[in-house]
Symmetry: C2
Subunit: 204 residues, 2 copies
């Protein structure tokens, strides 16, 4: 190893530090441009020591993607004491603001910087599934949802991602108009999927 | 060059042949796994000659992606003599069937095998924009659509891609149920975006 660590950290703390630095970089860079050399330099450790914790650059990127997904899910968690519409609105607003604050990383994520990597694709798939599941739970349909409803909610997650990324590049709607449209879309899609305009207490 | 061409073709015809072979391979392989060596062998030309037409593997992949996008748009073209609902249904059915027939390539496309490549991302972006524009034209709103309607249609294209790829991996809806749901979703989203349930002649 070329240099010794500036600070001695136990393995768990070191891994967490490195992933945390990756997350910080991800705010302004797409994942595939987060360089392990920069991370090692920032942490004051050698490239060799970084590779001790993450055997390949890809392992590191997968760990950062998992952490980003966990952070996204945590940031968009809503107060279960709110009613359905208020929870939906709060969750969508948190999503839009989080994506806006982490623009490059999320545009790259949503626009596909996974490059066909199965582990990264799995992280993205799990994140979308977790969002869908959360929405279904908010609709009181977490267990065994009807296939049309499950599919419509799943599609709405993609709709939301697409609109948010598209909006970042345009701005022909303001933030609140974007959030209104995404909320209205879920209400409309749930009604269309279930055939019941008042289904699941979403009608305002 | 190691071998001479089995058949002499003029440059345009040779390029078209190579891209056509790439398209055939794309039916069963994601783009990033379409190997130029296999294409050259199939065409009976040397790797060197292929690189004469496409200086890099990436140039070849971009050309194949463009051809795949054009093919997708051509296959999903609908008869303008049909009314709005019938055109929508025909276009969605053609999209679902085309994706099902080219499963691996489109799953990889939609799930992001662009790997952050700007030219490939541009092809995908142009394809989504062309789909959106076609739907807006079908709604009589091709020119200067209201921002909410434009965004909702754009999001519906992503919704449709997501549902189709998700459906390929599940099959909890049959083909016609999937198409119904996608059609119903557009009607619902247009109504939600415009505030008019009968807007644009889509109400059945």
């Amino acid at each position: 190893m070329a240099t010794s660590p500036r600070t001695r950290l136990d393995p768990e703390a070191r891994r967490a530090q490195l992933v945390g630095l990756g997350l910080q970089m991800l705010a302004t860079l797409p994942l595939d441009r987060v360089a392990v050399d920069d991370i090692a330099a920032e942490a004051g450790i050698s490239r060799g020591l970084l590779f001790h914790y993450f055997p390949t650059k890809r392992d590191f990127h997968v760990a950062v993607a998992r952490a980003a997904a966990r952070e996204m899910l945590a940031r968009t968690e809503t107060d279960p004491a709110l009613d359905g519409v208020a929870q939906l609105r709060a969750g969508v607003a948190a999503f839009v603001d989080h994506v806006a604050a982490n623009r490059d990383a999320y545009v790259a994520f949503i626009r596909g910087s996974a490059g066909g990597d199965p582990e990264l694709l799995a992280v993205y798939e799990e994140t979308r599934a977790a969002f869908s599941q959360r929405v279904l739970a908010g609709l009181g349909a977490a267990d065994d949802p009807p296939p049309r409803l499950r599919a419509a909610v799943r599609g709405w997650v993609a709709f939301t991602e697409e609109l948010t990324v598209d909006w970042l590049g345009r701005g022909d709607l303001d933030r609140d108009e974007l959030i209104d449209l995404i909320d209205d879309a879920l209400v409309a899609l749930v009604a269309a999927a279930t055939g019941d305009p008042g289904a699941h207490g979403l009608r305002q």
